[in-house]
């Protein structure tokens, strides 16, 4: 299971690098959405590894609420673009 976690951290480095490299806002949003999903699944794996279900509950909350927050943020960015271009 430790090897699994290491492979997941390696996969997590790719979107982090992408968010750092690219300045375009939608590419960054995409990378952040990927980071959010990956970290919450990693937290679920850790909760199984440590047999601690408090961490698992936090991971599931992040999984549902974090994606909803990203959706709202995408709408806010779109509205800001619309207003600034009018």
């Amino acid at each position: 299971m430790n090897l699994v976690l290491m492979a997941m951290i390696l996969a997590l480095l790719i979107p982090i690098y992408e968010a750092w490299r690219d300045d375009e806002v939608w590419q960054r949003m995409l990378a952040f959405a990927s980071i959010a999903t990956k970290t919450s699944v990693m937290a679920l794996v850790i909760s199984v590894l440590r047999d601690d279900w408090m961490i698992g509950i936090v991971a599931v909350i992040i999984l549902s609420v974090g994606n909803a927050a990203l959706m709202l943020l995408a709408h806010v960015i779109k509205r800001l673009n619309d207003v600034s271009n009018q």
Binding site: V4, A7, M8, L10, A11, I14, P15, Y17, E18, E24, W26, Q27, M29, L30, A31, A33, S34, T37, K38, V41, L44, V45, V48, D51, W53, G56, I57, A59, V60, L63, S64, N67, A68, L70, M71, A74, H75, I77, K78, N81, D82, N85
Partner: protein, 93 residues
């Protein structure tokens, strides 16, 4: 023993999907191409990893099923919303 092997197979498959989907992020393709590969491969990979965990500890199935459902619903909705917002934002520029 068989359950153990099966759960490692699911988790390994999920990690392969993760690498496959996120490797498209690094190229210089359009954002819709990246969004498609990322949402499909990321969702399938994460669901497969969670199924692997579910086989390992079946006693906590309500939590893991909730995780799978929220993954399936939110990632598709988020994919549509990101595609809609990014494509209509480009037309003004």
């Amino acid at each position: 023993m068989l359950i153990n092997i099966l759960s490692y197979t699911f988790i390994g498959l999920g990690i392969v999907f993760w690498f496959w989907g996120t490797s498209h992020l690094l190229g210089n393709r359009s954002i819709l191409f990246k969004l498609h590969s990322l949402s499909v491969a990321d969702t399938l990979g994460s669901m497969s990893i969670i199924i692997g965990l579910l086989l390992r500890i079946p006693s906590e199935w309500p939590l893991l099923i909730l995780a799978i459902i929220s993954l399936a619903i939110w990632n598709t909705v988020l994919g549509y919303v990101l595609a809609y917002c990014s494509s209509s934002g480009d037309s003004y520029e």
